[in-house]
Amino acid sequence: MEYEAVIGLEVHVQVKTESKIFSSVGVGFGAQPNSLTDPVVLGFPGVLPVINREAVEKSIKVGMLLNGSIPRVTKWDRKNYFYPDSPKNYQISQFDQPICSGGELEIELKGPSRNVMGEHKTIALTRAHLEEDVGKLIHLENESLVDFNRAGTPLLEIVSQPDMHTPEEAYAYLTALKMLLIYGEVSDCDMEKGQLRCDANVSVRPVGQKELGVKVEIKNLNSISGVRNGLAYEIERQIQVLEGGGTLAQETRGWDAAKGMTYHMRSKEESHDYRYFPDPDLMPVRIDHQWRDRLHASLPEKPFDRQRRYFDAYGLPYTLTSVLISDPELCHFFEEAAKRAKRPRQAANWIVNNLLGELGRAGLTLSESKVFPDQIAQLVNLIGEGVISKNLAKERVFPEMFKTGDNPAAIVQARGLGQSESAEDLEKICSEIVQANPDAVAEVLSGNKKAINFLKGRVMRATRGKANPALVGSLLEELIAEKG
């Protein structure tokens, strides 16, 4: 029998703030244990929470980027459960009036090859709500230790509908979500620092069946590939159970990335009664039109919208755009270069193929680059104007730009790389070469187009490589055509 998986994802994203969601101590990663706490974070007797405006604003922006509906009023509820990493044994969260309802996320599936765009889909969302993170448990042989540094970090929980059917879709969802959140500057989404964490709900059913199968929740899918691998394993496991005539239990399973398998954590019967009720210590948030408009105006262009604009406005090929849009900083770099470059597509090429390559080899990030966007534009324009050849730019000019940060024009001048001959001089040299090599000319005329390369080589040698090969090519073609 053919089976189909149904997948929904719950993603927890750390909202980027300086201080915690309900108190003023700083947020951080990797600090000494329990050094980022205060009486509020630790839930000491008598303390009260006060909402961090920034956490709310950024969460509203996420809701807007996800085309969700932002309510007029959103409020805070207590989710009551006991766990040693929870300082108050209730978590301040949002129950029935979340900061964002509904929404959708555009995703791109993997294409048939690297340079062909994959299928785009829209995944429906249920909601997004803001809450406080808990502390971290460290398990030793015979005891556990609790570090509350992470407690009180603002977390946005984004819940998708069971709208995905393959691990690849889940992978694409996470990739797209991460990109969108980075665009919105609402989170750095560094999974290694736990800034983006993912749980999945997955069930399988025979293809064609309407009703959903038994749902299993998978925890600890804490890398993007973990999501893909964990889901692939779990879907296969569920299918095997069903094919073997077994039945599935509603349960929570964990993903063990090292062993590459999921394992039973708890069953449905142990599920919680969270006793949600409105937090009496916190006032509701009203999001009026002015506030809404201001946040709306601050939204960035979404990644796929930008990609479509790059196709339309600059005629960029898919491969270039997919590299560019993966990084808003890179997009900014490109767009700055494109403003002055006469051929923006060439600028994109130089950035993606040459600059990123060099940076990668040097182990540098874009912000550490000595080459600036207007210098890329200059380089592209020098080539376009025939001042230097593309080859020369690649071999001599760009490496020096990368090393020193000097302007390409200055390098060309200092190194005497400019094409010294005027167009007339070059025409003269070409004409001489054509005269001196009648055999080659005859061969070109007889249809062997490649024979022109011999002539080109002669011209290049005569100009000590400074001539623009494209220009040489077209001059030679003209001269040969006159002979024909």
Partner: protein
């Protein structure tokens, strides 16, 4: 002025300090002596640090000598209910759970007291986590009534009321969730003020029921209550429920507002269960106001009879969540009988909490649990709206409401501990002010045949404390109830 110092008012002590007829060290030492002499019988204090008190008093005297006093309370000993956080002092909430807890931070009201120069004299006993009406639910000790030490001081701020009544302190702070300032004030014959919800910051007040709790003063006179309120009231950015306005001058009302007022008498407060002697005293007070030209209006608060149920649903629900943090893990009592971590919760909480706290946690957990939320909590919140509307309608007609504070006077210790429902029902007159968020004051209005004090409660409009104080002050000035003092010292 030794000897009679214990029963001076705050106003008198402020004057004595200002005129340098007494120093803060003398004043503080006198009160410490008084505590030594009588607290063995009253048991109002959970703890005090004599050296620390005298250090604070010395610092105050130095400031005064240098002409740099910090504020109106400079050098005045103030006691604090053991539910309000003072940096580096115990914060036990009279619970075994927090028996060894020392606060690393100051409550906002404490910062305000410190900024006003107060000498923080000690920690006052209470019902465990402020749950109770007699201070018999303290895990540390029972506080007795200075007027008759076989009787209770009331609760939950029993220590705060008894200490002021017994002359151990001129003023104290208490907290009031359903009458916990006003009822012990009435039992002990002192003045107790519960301000409008949001007027005084709750930051640093250990939460019992967050939407009902409010800190307020217990004092000898209405004027002193205003003086204390002046210091502690005002917006606090650390409390999201704090009202963002500047409080008025509370002494002005006393001087200028002399009535006559339109005063309401809610019929529902004079129904069955009211002790006849209490009833007579309240009626006498009402007559006094009428004689003074005040118009007395019969008022109906139609949802009054539901207030107890609404209160005990909301208060216990919030408490069940607020008290979840006391779990044996981070800073509380930890059971040493526990195996795994779940067991650690069960046993630490079983050992750390007293019976009344457990009962309320169970009730509050139940009303929030799956399938019951709408029937109990949500419905209670809706009826809470109706109760507030009743008051809003009443205050459209009158300036204040006159009621008894408690249906009876102080009772014998142990007399009512067996029937929790009966104990809950005795909060009948005080809780609706907390549900509606309005201010209320209790002041002495007489004594019964056994010489036990009776309290008159006046309820006012939100944020109209100045008016409320003026109404209470006019009565107080015309009577001598505040001049009478108990003598709890053992006979020599």
């Amino acid at each position: 002025m030794p000897g009679e110092i214990y029963f001076k008012t705050l106003a008198q002590l402020q004057e004595a300090l200002a005129s340098k007829s007494i120093s803060s060290v003398e004043l503080t030492r006198d009160h410490l002596d008084r505590i030594q002499a009588v607290d063995g019988r009253i048991q109002a204090f959970n703890s005090w640090d004599e050296e620390d008190c005298l250090r604070q008093a010395e610092a105050s005297d130095e400031r005064r000598a240098a002409g740099r006093i910090k504020g109106p309370l400079d050098g005045i000993p103030v006691g604090v209910k053991d539910v309000i956080a003072v940096r580096d002092q115990p914060l036990t909430c009279s619970s075994r759970m927090l028996e060894h807890f020392v606060s690393p931070y100051d409550a906002t009201v404490i910062s305000r007291l410190k900024n006003a120069g107060a000498v923080l004299l000690g920690r006052l006993n209470m019902d465990e986590f402020a749950m109770g009406s007699s201070t018999e639910n303290s895990a540390i000790k029972i506080t007795f009534n200075p007027w008759d030490t076989s009787r209770v001081a009331g609760g939950s701020s029993g220590g705060s009321a008894a200490a002021v009544a017994a002359g151990e302190l001129p003023v104290s702070l208490g907290s009031d969730t359903g009458g916990s300032i006003r009822q012990p004030a009435s039992f002990c014959g002192v003045v107790g003020l519960k301000p409008t919800y949001g007027l005084v910051s709750r930051f640093g007040l250990v939460a019992f029921a967050s939407s009902l709790d409010q800190i307020g003063p217990l004092t000898r006179t209405v004027g002193d209550a205003g003086r204390m309120l002046q210091v502690i009231a005002g917006h606090d950015p650390r409390d999201s429920t704090s009202i963002d306005t500047s409080p008025p001058d509370y002494s002005e009302g006393l001087a200028e507002k002399k009535g006559p007022w339109k005063l309401g008498v809610p019929q529902e407060y004079f129904a069955e269960g009211l002790d006849p002697e209490v009833k007579a005293a309240i009626e006498a007070a009402i007559d006094w106001y009428a004689d003074r030209g005040c118009e007395i209006v019969e008022i109906s608060l139609p949802h009054m009879h539901l207030a107890i149920s609404v209160y005990y649903i909301i208060a216990t629900a919030e408490a069940s969540s607020n008290l979840a943090r006391y779990d044996g893990v981070r800073y509380t009592h930890r059971s040493d009988r526990a195996g795994d971590v779940v067991d650690l919760y069960f046993k630490s909480r079983a050992e750390g909490f007293g019976e009344e706290v457990k009962r309320r946690i169970i009730l509050g957990t139940y009303v929030l649990s799956s399938g019951y939320y709408d029937a109990y909590y949500l419905r209670a919140q809706k009826i809470r709206s109706l109760i507030r509307q009743d008051f809003t309608k009443a205050f459209a007609k009158v300036d204040g409401l006159l009621t008894p504070t408690s249906p009876f006077v102080s009772f014998k210790a142990g007399e009512k501990t067996r029937d929790p429902l009966a104990m809950y029902l005795s909060d009948i007159y005080t809780i609706s002010a907390n549900l509606a968020g309005i201010p209320g004051i209790s002041l002495p209005c007489g004594f019964n045949s056994q010489g036990l004090p009776i309290g008159l409660q006046i309820l006012g409009e939100p944020m109209e404390e100045a008016n409320l104080l003026a109404i209470a002050h006019s009565f107080e000035r015309a009577h001598d109830f505040t001049d009478r003092h108990p003598n709890p010292a053992p006979p020599d």
